[in-house]
Symmetry: C2
Subunit: 347 residues, 2 copies
């Protein structure tokens, strides 16, 4: 029986109160983050700088006392390590060398040792965070899901033409499957190494799962996720995997049934009653406060929080947002929400 | 008992075969559309030119024999008629005067007679189409749903920052409610007039319903839709209303239960089994072939079509795409799909 609240909830146990953490809790809304960020060369350098990345990972816990830290890193570190050179340009988001045909897929470096060497600073960050973590907090590692990472690789950046990846998949399914398979293999190694370095749970972010038709969702979201969870469970049976297929709608049911995850992350569009009756009896759920309520704060934020606690607090549940914290969120709102959550379901 | 196949299905009756039509079936993929379009001054002028708009509405039926024509118009004609001057710039999409505060909402013209006069050419188009329609085909009128139309008004165009409309709604709920209420009133008048001019069914397009959290979905999607359907049903109890809250996910259940619609349109992300067991027993459904399969054509398109027919063909159902036809779709693919659909569920 794990003693940390987050791990209890993810193991399907009742907890004294629901554990909480926030997606992108280590980020630009925090002045101490911006200070460290200003000292670093660029965002990518920051991800590969273990002392700074560890510091950033721990910052929100000092202020707000979350039940978990989530590794400070980026879902595009894997393609970068596979040879798609990645850069972050201010105000533009990520830019990377596009992968749009079989030749480009074949050029990806799939030498596990070389890829691991490039990602070694991330594992160093994990070790440092784990060593410095408050006793009651858990450390969550993460990766992007293959489909979501592939959308950026095909696009060559963070543009929003997801149709490009879908056209690749329809036009040359074998080449796209090879891309996904290579991402599956690299993601297994990446999460395995994070766990060996000290991560106590891992989350797969499938930010663009909602762009897929239901047939594609089975093929490009559920199947690769199951391949990853199967391999991880073989090596680390006790380490929970949280899957977050954003905007998957009713496909959440199939994902929960077949992706092999231990808990499921829910975006703000998922109705509370439906999740309580259809999903929560099957596995622990995590979510789903609208991040915009955190930006506005006040009574609206606290009332919506209470509705979530009332509806989901009786069964294993991890409080979180429905998506990441936005840079415009006032620190005082995060403080007020955290204080409310530390008080439990019925303060 | 209506004799047209589409109206039978929308009334919940079994049909000899599922009726079909395609969203954006009158559009750029058709050479005869591009020819008429080239003669017109701009897109907006085309929408307000009854002979040309009627011709465009009828074009796809001549080639493909769909069971329904859908009025050629645009969801932004209502804001244009309310005084938000609209323009379509090539390659940029729509541009209109932004509505971002209470003053701008108050400046909207809510004089029903003036708005109706500006929209009169649309009603003329409806009459012309109805008079020229093949006997077995039905005419569908349409409007955008208030939430989706509001996103364009707040943005001032077709940009993809839906957060702007949501911030308006959170920051000044009374002003945003006034905007939605004015759109509800204008949409009721607009659809009422389309029906009086000859539309036999109407569809509400809520393209951006999936951008809303579940609480917002109740307030800004379901409630305004119910206000519209209630008013329309009072005036035209026998005219079916199809609601299409795109990417609504599990919120489709609440929408179907409370929005007052007769049939529900499903995007390509909705799983076939889930819709068959959860939605179709409650009301007729419409959808949901992935438009990208129409672009690729061939066996993949026909196999996916067969899966839909197999799963949904036994109950009242209207075959359609999950979203509009894209301009790159070859005419031959639409012909092959139409031929398949005219053959019924088991050719």
């Amino acid at each position: 029986m794990p003693s940390k609240r987050l791990l209890q909830a993810l193991a399907g146990k009742r907890t004294d109160r629901p554990p909480f953490w926030f997606m992108r809790q280590a980020g630009r809304y925090l002045p101490e983050y911006r200070q460290v960020r200003a000292q670093a060369g660029d965002f990518l350098a920051l991800c590969f700088d273990p002392p700074k990345a560890a510091e950033i990972t721990l910052q929100p816990l000092r202020r707000f006392g979350m039940d978990a830290a989530i590794l400070f890193a980026d879902i595009l570190l894997i393609p970068d390590a596979m040879g798609c050179r990645l850069a972050f340009r201010d105000g533009e988001g990520p830019v990377l060398e596009p992968v749009r045909d079989l030749d480009a897929v074949r050029r990806l470096d799939d030498d596990g040792a070389r890829v691991a060497a490039r990602l070694a600073p991330v594992y160093d960050t994990v070790s440092r965070v784990r060593a410095a973590l408050p006793a009651e907090a858990a450390l969550i590692g993460f990766a992007g899901s293959p489909w979501t990472v592939a959308t950026y690789m095909v696009e060559g950046g963070g543009g929003h033409d997801f149709a490009r990846a879908r056209r690749f998949a329809f036009g040359d399914p074998a080449a796209f499957a090879m891309l996904i398979d290579r991402l599956v293999a690299a993601t297994i190694d990446y999460l395995d190494a994070q766990i060996r370095a000290g991560a106590e749970a891992v989350q797969l972010f499938d930010t663009w799962a909602g762009e897929l038709s239901s047939a594609e969702f089975e093929r490009w979201c559920i199947e690769p996720t199951r391949a990853i969870t199967t391999a991880l469970k073989h090596r680390h049976p006790a380490v929970p995997v949280i899957g977050f297929p954003r905007r998957a709608g009713a496909n959440l049911l199939a994902y929960q049934a077949r992706a092999g995850i231990d808990a499921i992350g829910l975006d703000a569009g998922v109705p509370l009653d439906w999740a309580a009756t259809q999903l929560q009896p099957v596995s622990p759920i995590q979510g789903n406060l609208d991040p915009m309520l955190l930006a506005f704060g006040g009574a609206a934020m606290l009332e919506a929080t209470q509705r979530i606690l009332d509806r989901w607090g009786g069964r294993p549940f991890v409080f979180n947002l429905g998506h990441g914290i936005t840079p415009d969120v006032p620190v005082s709102h995060v403080a007020a929400l955290s204080e409310r959550l530390r008080a439990g379901t019925t303060p």
